[in-house]
Symmetry: C2
Subunit: 135 residues, 2 copies
């Protein structure tokens, strides 16, 4: 299997999503992460966050969504994802997730992507991912 | 704010979970990651995985669940999570997620945790996390 020359450094894709209270509730049930900072507005309003925030792993799932369905899409294999949660995401905020190829291995069809989620000008999740590109 | 001396290197916690087809379906809807390797048994059975697999980010959400609800629990703030997806997780497999404190900063109440998910003796997700410990 050789690197697919259709991919090049700098190629990118993005999606946007607004997480609702209902989505956060569903993720809490699904993951079991019922930390009240995500679920209880009265509790969360007394924390430094001043209101309910979206689970960092739910926000970060937008990267998985891009990789699995948009770019590179079907056939991609997720090898790794590094995440830094740099700012909270409030319910109702529009999150833009963007992935950009930063390197492609010369010996294998494995690309490193810079991965960033932002709300307006504020980066909320940053990091990088490794993807085995589709054949 | 000073490091909480109740925490020490080597402290750990674990949870186990079996992901069902329904949970994977719900996560696909929630995240938008409808890659057929997660949803379509006929498709997935023709891939190297030989059947539907759980989204890596859904498996990894078990770490968030431990941090937010078990150890350190309420008041923890998730600063970062590095993930390597080392093997696929089939539907119905029992996943054990374990987090272990590997370091605590001397100057701030920030701990690094080794984070591992395994199915039997097979490591399926490995990495580490940074957590701001509860006051």
């Amino acid at each position: 299997m050789k690197p697919d020359n259709n991919y090049k450094v700098g190629d990118s894709a993005e999606i946007t999503h607004v997480f609702t209270a209902r989505e956060v509730d569903i993720f809490a049930e699904l993951s079991g992460d019922k930390n009240p900072v995500h679920l209880d507005e009265a509790y969360a309003s007394r924390t430094q966050f001043k209101g309910r925030i979206v689970h960092g792993m739910l926000v970060s799932s937008l990267f998985s969504t891009i990789f699995g369905t948009v770019f590179p899409g079907e056939g991609s294999i997720y090898l790794g994802q590094n995440l830094r949660f740099t700012a909270p995401v409030k319910l109702g905020a529009e999150v833009k997730a963007r992935v950009t190829i930063s390197a492609i291995r010369p010996d294998k069809p494995i690309a490193t992507f810079e991965t960033v989620c932002s709300v307006g000008d504020q980066v909320v999740v940053s990091g990088d991912a490794a993807i085995l590109l589709p054949a």
